[in-house]
Symmetry: D2
Subunit: 367 residues, 4 copies
């Protein structure tokens, strides 16, 4: 109830502040019998890690997972036992002193003011619990979820579709990780990626930041995942995406453009796909009535520009007195490349949760 | 876990199918001591009721709430006791036979196929549990939540900002119910409302449907509501809005346009408002770090055109054989006017839940 | 969170006060495809109903379930669709005026004082939400759960083992409903039942009440139901039993007597049962490490004597002034016979919940 | 849902196996502003720690808490920020090889068989997740909860009332920690404590084990904590106590003896206590209708003898073949002295949770 747990049957609970001792979490509800690929988890963290390229913050963290529990060693490595998976990630690059000048000042569009309003006090070091560093634990859990999905034939991929006004000239579709990670900006369209990188470099030089949009596609999700009414599959995906630090907009399937169409054009006609019933178009984004229909699940998430700019500005202190302010510390000019693994992680968490929930839908379970 | 409960401390659980015996629900966690205005609840239902004008479906339901529990009579009417409020709303206009022809057919962009995929069988009558009639119970609960919010000085108002491509020429802001309900299309800008009504009439004549966008504004929310990380106030609002039947997009504050700005323009500078610290602009939409900052909370929700069109079409049956299909039954050419009270109801549910959750945030509670 | 919901995957939420409009509830998470025997549900209610014999309160309620939702009609009757089952039971025998004299008085060992302390006001009519009439909704949900368990080969039976100091001379074991219901006192040992009935008649004549103990046995539960650590199968059973209105003690398996043994005598040795591994004794009561082991699950629940006695007494009013008090209204001299179906109902709710939860325990689900 | 989380508003989630890398947990929902006494937490762990005296297992663990998050340093030490408190406790004395001989054998009255039945595989090292070592994390969280309760004037104390058939000659009442911890057996009645210690020594010599009973008393709990119907205060306490590894029985207030009385003797008459309304007797054990009434909360928990005895015995292997077995490893002849802090910890968790939940009970909150 205090907001640090996500999911129902497959649950992640996290802890940690940007400049505290360590980040970490507990994955509870991981089914027993999963041969865990720990290197793959570490690889996901590497995708999120700061300092990957000149496009991202220079804060460097090893971000190595220390596993605490939940597996036994079998011939080919660790296998989950059904017990909770505890893990920590050290905060080796913590520099709390960087933030001393902010003790009495609220940075604009950060959570400084609201945390203090809520709790009566706040952890001034790097935003404390509100720091995006918190997402490191989500990536760990998401990487486990991804491995469960793989056993079910489900793939989840995201990519940067737009940086500010520079957008890919193609409709949303699944792109492989190789395509996406080929360029550090994580846009699978090389020319667009190059233009995006230039823009980010310009903006960085100006001490400024930019946002944009990420597309997420999940393919191979069988028809039938999702719950009616409140826990619709896309409602849980929406909550997941809006729980990320910089989300400003979300679209499902046809999204905004769908709201401009007439019903007669917007409807996805059912067609026989041989082995399954499919739809001729996918304006529904793979979800109808809150439940997956077997088509690709397609979301577009818009992110705002990062709030910390390295330009002088003004704010107020606790008493409302004006103060001069200049962004310091190590920050990203554009979060989108590093947000790609976050978006994927959150989608994986939601999908595994609903895969497990689906097992309770019928009196007679059919695998 | 089966998807029919919403909220944590203030919880709504609902039941009912479009053409079953009755709709209804239970509100659990309503604080004791609320003098309940039952007429106001009924008035909210009237705003959602079909058949209000020529713009909406001709299905007519009295939609009278039968209260079951949770109050005692005091001098000025019923007062909540802390016990759960049970209620039902009869389905007097049920015409299940209207749907017999759909037994073996999946209507495009409806939940027919996915419900059958999930459960192995489905209630063919009017979409069963997937029908938008289910939202009637949300309006009841939302109306109770609204009365709690009123005691806290919070007002929630929504309006139709756009129908297809016809959009209000003004930025999002709070409009009173009188302004909004002055025109049946529920757009508070009279000229735009008239154009919208014309468009809806045209579309209806063509047996077609249109979507658009609704803006929601909550004002008076004090700084400090919302939880960190996963249960951010806007994450819960997002889940609420995406749990509505036709949502295609969601924006918070500056929304999509915010993703095009640079950080230096996008940031909301803090300013001294005398009695409180405020922000000069409100691109954050009243929420920072997942927690309310005291400014207006501003959301924009895009809705798709209703799937049921009164035009001939094609689909497939259970075996994948092509079938001819024509929309029948009583349906709305445009759901937006009737969706206004739904959006408000869901926002009220989320806000009351977080108002109660906030009471647990500090060791010493200050009212 | 407000206490009126029970269960995780199979959930019951209830509402209703003793002398309000109606009792009722919502069963959410009932798997689709269950052919529901509504007459069997009604028969369970008849077992709980007051006025069954001279041993119980003379309040008479038809206690007919009005079903609201959640099923479709198939050839042989209603089948669950996966949608929530809403139901109500009218309070036809409400006599609120019986309680007017209690407005300012707290009855001893009732919830009058504590509800007022909690909520600041209370529903004085028959104890309001604290009335045992609330359990009628549990019996409905339990009867549905029992039907699910039947498809899994699980039987749940309870009986009165002891009334005050009159106890069956046999160790706990499964007794069929025919045996149990053969005598209105619901003790399957005829001579003991007769002595119990005499005691209850004596006590009733004296305007007094008695308690005793009920034994519950669940047989056919497969090994593997239950969760580690906090949601042990017996922890959830314990919560279920302690949520009943008059519980004073609970024992699992060897219970109190087990706490007097040495470990060497208490241990249940594993033995080969041919088709499964069993234990030679069952001091564990069918649960080890919080998880069922395939043996009978055996609980003993002690109930206090009903608080309402028809003898003059004293209490205090809101200001602490002494007041004379005499029990009025219609009450049971001994709740145990009517508590038998309640105990069974709660056990069925817990068992179905864990049956569904077990489906998420392994990566590869085996039915 | 996977059983490793306890509580609703004040929540503990734990991880760790007996012989894994580390134990640990996350406390979420700890109100901000609590000046945390870390030494007091460590002291609670010392009370639970093995090897305290010859009466307990010789396994020695430092059991030092490593704090990960959730506090900021103020002048007098760490203060909670409202963020989750993550912590670990290393397993420095792990000796997994001690358990190799059990790979194919199920120890009687342990969880070996049931975990394998549930998950299809198990962690054979020291019982894995089923080990009582798991309770170390509960003691950490309980110690934090105790500090919150102290600010509310609530004290929680438990003691060993009975070992096998050796019982204190006094009715349950509050005893200070000094009294309880004066003797390593944790019985505050010196003569009885001495007899208990002799019994335990005898039993240990014989390679056997004994159980008994612990009494828990919470004093200072104000009237009004607890929720109606399912989440009664004693239902949540019951779940808490039955989640401990060796619980066999539970009694509230008058307990079993209350079930032998008549209602006229059993009722607790209300009396004016000057500053509050109290009861002349406390057969209700401080809880009426599921809600605290301001009197002492009194529970008695019966524990079975530990299953691991150092005597030869027989069991079966996976295929049902008989095997010889002899208890090895380091185990307690009597868990009760070390269970005292566990019982207190669980009670503290439940009480804080309900203290926070009570804040949502009324429209106008009064501290």
């Amino acid at each position: 109830m205090a907001g640090n747990t996500f999911g129902t049957l497959f649950r992640l609970t996290t802890f940690g502040e940007s400049h505290g001792y360590a980040m970490g979490g507990i994955v509870d509800g991981c089914p027993a019998g999963l041969a865990l690929d720990l290197a793959a988890v570490q690889a996901e963290l590497a995708r999120r890690r700061p300092g990957q390229s000149s496009l991202t913050t220079s804060r460097k963290e090893a971000d190595e997972v220390q596993w605490m529990s939940g597996t036994v060693e079998h011939d080919n490595g660790p296998v989950t036992t059904g017990a909770p998976l505890g893990f920590t990630i050290a905060n080796t690059a913590a520099r709390p002193a960087d933030y001393d000048h902010l003790k009495n000042t609220f940075r604009p569009s950060h959570a400084d003011f609201t945390y203090e309003a809520k709790y009566g006090l706040r952890d001034v070091r790097g935003g404390g619990r509100a720091s995006a560093r918190e997402t490191v634990s989500r990536v760990v859990a998401g990487a486990i979820a991804r491995q469960i999905l793989a056993t079910l034939g489900v793939e989840v991929g995201a990519y940067v579709e737009r940086v500010q006004d520079i957008s890919m000239p193609l409709p949303p579709s699944f792109h492989s990780r190789d395509e996406v990670d080929a360029h550090p900006v994580r846009c699978p369209h090389p020319e667009t990626a190059a233009r995006m990188a230039d823009r980010i470099a310009d903006v960085k030089k100006a001490g400024d930041t930019v946002g944009g949009a990420i597309v997420l596609v999940a393919r191979g999700v069988p028809a039938g995942w999702g719950e009616p009414v409140f826990d619709r599959l896309h409602a849980d995906l929406a909550k997941a995406m809006w729980s990320l630090p910089a989300t400003k907009s979300l679209e499902l399937g046809s999204g905004l453009s769908g709201t401009l169409m007439r019903g007669s054009e917007h409807n996805d006609k059912f067609v026989d796909r041989g082995d399954r019933i499919g739809t001729a178009t996918n304006r529904s984004g793979g979800i109808q009535g809150g439940i997956s229909n077997g088509e690709d699940i397609v979301l577009r998430i818009g992110f705002k520009p990062v709030a910390t700019v390295l330009q002088p500005g003004t704010s107020v202190d606790r008493e409302g007195n004006p103060v001069e302010l200049k962004g310091r510390g190590r920050h990203d000019p554009c979060v989108l490349p590093r947000a790609v693994p976050l978006v994927e992680a959150m989608a994986c968490l939601v999908l595994v949760d609903h895969a497990l929930r689906q097992r309770a839908a019928r009196l007679t379970f059919e695998a």
